[in-house]
């Protein structure tokens, strides 16, 4: 039984483009998993319209925040909702929006009721066409003070996307050579030869 995605009613979320709020999954209340809905509601209650709940799926809740609020939201997630570490931090480049998205996947070891849950915290930085990593406007506040575990992940995003994390104590290259002088390689305009 193969099903192609064109016919499949795959959840239309607002995550890719926060401006279009045509279909919001939060409105379809009976389908939403209860526990995850509770987590999303707590965050909405605290921050109101400053955050946007992109989706609520089984075991996964995603919220989008602006770069100014990301530290405050992250502190709330750690102190009140007991998320204690970051599993993964990913960058996603959106050249057409002139933005780079940074996605934190947060989990919890200490709170057993949250052990299945991953809270997805996404924020976006302005994207420079001609990046000078560290000296341009592609900047985000670092979450290292709040989640210690993001230290190496943020270093990786700095070199791969050119997002400078303000407040990160060790903004150095990690995987790339020290003398790398090209574009940050995971940006979409860095093309692989022959492709």
């Amino acid at each position: 039984m193969s099903s192609d995605s064109d016919e499949e009613p795959i959840e239309t979320t607002t995550e890719e483009n926060p401006k279009s709020t045509k279909v919001s999954t939060v409105e379809k209340e009976p389908e939403l998993p209860k526990f995850e809905k509770g987590i999303a509601d707590k965050i909405v209650e605290k921050f109101g319209t400053r955050i946007k709940v992109a989706f609520v799926k089984p075991d996964r809740v995603r919220i989008n925040v602006s770069r100014d609020d990301v530290k405050e939201v992250a502190s709330f997630l750690r102190d009140v909702l007991n998320f204690d570490h970051a599993e993964s931090v990913s960058g996603v480049d959106y050249p057409q929006d002139k933005e780079i998205e940074v996605v934190y996947h947060l989990g919890s070891y200490t709170d057993s009721s949250l052990s299945r849950q991953i809270l997805v915290l996404a924020t976006r930085a302005q994207r420079e066409e001609n990046p000078i990593p560290g000296n341009d406007a592609t900047k985000l506040p670092s979450l290292r003070e709040i989640f210690y575990s993001v230290e190496f992940h943020e270093r990786e995003i700095f070199e791969m996307f050119g997002v400078f994390f303000q407040g990160h104590p060790d903004n150095r290259r990690l995987l790339l050579p020290e003398d790398w002088a090209d574009l940050p390689p995971l940006r979409k305009d860095f093309a692989i030869k022959g492709r």
């Binding site: 099903s3 599993e87 996605v103 299945r116 995971l186």
Partner: protein, 377 residues
């Protein structure tokens, strides 16, 4: 270049007393990895891990290939654990495409994943042995590993790079008579690895060298976001197979291994205890597996995901392995991120080595269950 960036230990000058030492990037058996340490006499003052010597841009490559052709290259970061590194990717693609996997395929996947976990752990254990100068412990695991590699070769056709998991099931059904051979080999394998206790884990020399070195407290293990054997050796009971069961792990009978000490000895013992559990899982799965049925759902050519993103994770030989896939209605993924356990555990290395003797560095480093090629991707 940017002048604001901190120089890092390699260039940093301290004083005459402190010596900066480059360890690596040559490395026996695994991949290249450099550790820059500052030592005061015999004691490590500071440490700066420098991965990246085997960075091959797997994530970038994945953006140029469609969901199916991504499979053979995404397993390359850990060829010894190739089923487990493909697992979250395959689960994620299945969720994106809305595929339901046949029951028999789920059991075959679990068996392959557990066999692979043992194959990886044996290789890791062999290198751990040679790091400590215990050459028998290099020969035995390297030899016994062949038992399971033979099984995987029968199952998938390849010794290490299997590319066996595909969205919708597994590539091939089991060969005839596989269940009996598997049961016999796994039983013998279990008997063999139990013998390792006498020469390695109960060996007073090993205990003297690894107990109470590189101690990671429970709080630090959580704060640093470590995973897998490192986390469970520090007393946190967290195994994705139990906490967020995927495929048929929920129906299988096994337990997770947790130790409280948090030292190199505990960290090196957990993977060995896990292998004993893996043998139980394989036996139980062979028993419960449907004896016939489909093992693969036929997909349309060039399947496309919706406008969505998924994050899936599994427990690999080293810990929780996550895969974040962003799809934009094209046959190729928009972004694939592998959140690998080696990369997550590396952050603990500077904490463990601080104040440790230089001679303990190999055992502390390798007890992190770290695979350089995987961390670099």
């Amino acid at each position: 270049m940017n002048t604001e960036l901190p120089p890092g230990l390699a260039l940093q000058k301290v004083d005459e007393r402190i010596m900066t030492l480059n360890v690596g990037p040559q490395h026996p058996g695994s991949g290249h990895m450099r550790i820059i340490v500052q030592i005061d006499g015999d004691f490590i003052v500071a440490c700066d891990p420098d991965p990246g010597y085997v960075h091959r841009g797997e994530e970038k490559m994945a953006e140029y290939r469609n969901y199916i052709t991504n499979i053979p290259h995404l397993e390359r970061p850990v060829i010894h654990d190739s089923c487990n590194i493909l697992y979250p990717y395959v689960l994620g693609v299945e969720e994106l495409l809305g595929i339901e996997v046949p029951e028999r395929a789920k059991y075959i996947r679990v068996i392959a994943a557990e066999l692979n976990r043992c194959v990886y752990t044996m290789y890791w254990l062999a290198i751990y042995g040679i790091f400590l100068g215990h050459s028998t412990m290099f020969m035995w695991p390297a030899g016994d590993r062949e038992l399971l590699i033979d099984l995987l070769e029968k199952m998938t056709g390849a010794r290490v790079t299997h590319a066996h998991f595909v969205p919708g099931g597994v590539r091939n059904d089991l060969p005839p008579n596989f269940e009996d051979v598997c049961l016999r080999q796994v039983n013998y394998f279990e008997k063999r690895i139990k013998e390792y206790a006498a020469i390695f884990y109960d060996n007073p020399i090993l205990i003297a060298r690894t107990a109470n070195t590189g101690v990671l407290s429970r709080e630090d293990a959580i704060r640093l976001g470590t995973t897998g054997s490192v986390l469970r050796a520090s007393g946190v009971d967290y195994d994705i197979r139990k906490k967020e069961p995927y495929d048929v792990y929920e129906e299988l009978d096994f337990q997770t291994n947790v130790l409280k000490e948090g030292d190199s000895y505990a960290r090196s013992k957990i993977p060995w205890l896990d292998m004993l559990e893996s043998c139980r899982i394989i036996r139980h799965a062979l028993q419960k597996m449907p004896k016939s049925g489909s093992v693969r759902v036929k997909l349309k050519p060039n399947p496309k995901g919706g406008d969505a993103s998924v994050y899936k994770r599994v427990e690999s030989g080293r810990g929780s392995l996550g895969c974040y896939i962003v799809s934009d209605k094209k046959p190729e993924p928009y972004r694939v991120k592998l959140s690998v356990p080696s990369f997550r555990n590396l952050i603990a290395l500077p904490y463990l080595l601080k104040g440790e003797k230089l001679g303990n560095m190999p055992s502390v480093y390798w007890s992190l269950n770290y695979w350089p090629v995987e961390a670099d991707r």
